[in-house]
Point group: C2
Chain length 258, copies 2
């Protein structure tokens, strides 16, 4: 499904987790990465080295030979960065799940969104092939370009508008960010009692595995779904010293039971 | 690592998810399953058929030829069931994460706990080999028997006392039950907006994958850890109609940020 479009040149604006993983994916797919921009030279250089690109810290120095400008900075920085970018015909996209596409409309005649629905760390490489890439653009030509681009790194391309993207991002916060925090809470509870988090790893893997072919609602197990008040009271007693955790335990259990 | 002890005979008391998966695991490991007990004949028969065993609905009819009685009923039924069981020397264990071992002390001279730290469904078979089996018993001989039994189905055997087991179970509620509920919430949000839950599956898989070699605390991503109040406010606005969900969103985000 992957088709390399190696003649196209890309500038990456940003050097965080998403910029790093997407830069690597495009570089591996055969694209030339011209520049990596970051406000600070160090992160720009670190990523630029990996992508055989030039680090820059000034948005006025963007290389206009690029066919695509990929804005992959923190959500609340996109607007500020966009205001400093002036290109003409070339396509500019951001990679955010929450920011409106139109934030880029003054940058270029062709703009859009290229949102990979995944969680990224700088160090852990991602298998992009299965990652849903949610694309949106202000015209058909740009949609077509983004489709080619997305196909070069993923087999799962979705045309998603800004409103749907926000919903997806909200759902992703529950499915990924909050889930990871549940792991963190579990790990902290075990640590307090000198038990290893490794004990929970097969359970965590199976919990994620089960929903691949099933509805999570039907997969629910545990005291709350059984309305086993005795066990839940015992758990609340164990959490007695931590009011915030007790409240989370109660609320989530109530939501499961209801 | 697995050693079959097929000469030993087992009676399974219970016919739910855990009883089903453990029964299958022991049967596959070469044990003879003499009987399956359930209060109702139908579940007893369904499981007994799979294990080539006899279904019973009366605890007075327990086959005393068994070397092991495995009590795998709901946590709040263990005490009631235990009161009806009288055996002599044979080993009796329950499979609960929360119930004290001593609930079985009037059943036999040899008693203990055989707690597989995993989430079980009737239909989905589990790879027991990696499942931590937490064992506890009232004497060394019984611990030794449970070790042999555990080794026949798993390579991950842990000697865990009742107090530690309760902590493990509490942590498992966060890591598994609450995590699965986060999947359910995400799925419901998408469904409300005609978006497919499939879109989140690669994200869920990666979130679980990431903690295999890393500390979940360090893996945290998303608006709460970035203290991105603008995105969190936008999410709360999207959840406006659902007070309970809004409260969960706020509390978990606060806990991540703090």
């Amino acid at each position: 499904m992957k088709t390399a479009v190696s003649s196209q040149k890309i500038v990456i604006i940003g050097a965080g987790n998403v910029a790093t993983q997407m830069g690597k994916a495009f570089y591996t797919a055969g694209y030339t990465i011209l520049q990596v921009y970051s406000r600070s030279l160090k992160p720009a250089t670190t990523l630029a080295k990996k992508l055989n690109a030039t680090p820059i810290t000034d948005l006025k120095k963007l290389d206009q030979n690029a066919a695509l400008f990929l804005v992959s900075v923190k959500d609340d920085a996109i607007s500020r960065v966009a205001k400093q970018i002036k290109i003409k015909e070339q396509l500019i996209v951001h990679t955010s799940g929450t920011v409106e596409m139109n934030v880029l409309k003054k940058c270029s005649r062709n703009f859009g969104v290229f949102y990979p629905l995944q969680t990224f760390s700088k160090e852990k490489n991602v298998d992009f092939d299965v990652v849903p890439v949610c694309i949106e653009a202000n015209n058909k030509k740009s949609i077509s370009s983004l489709q080619s681009l997305a196909k070069s790194i993923s087999s799962n391309i979705q045309q998603i508008d800004s409103k749907q993207r926000k919903i997806l991002h909200l759902a992703a916060v529950f499915a990924c960010n909050f889930t990871n925090h549940m792991y963190t809470i579990a790990s902290a509870i075990l640590l307090q009692h000198n038990l290893s988090f490794d004990l929970l790893k097969p359970l965590i893997a199976e919990t994620a595995e089960k929903i691949k072919n099933g509805d999570p609602y039907k997969m629910q197990t545990g005291p709350a779904i059984r309305k086993d008040q005795k066990t839940m009271n015992a758990h609340l007693k164990l959490l007695a010293k931590d009011k915030q955790l007790k409240t989370i335990y109660k609320l989530v259990s109530d939501h499961i039971s209801s």
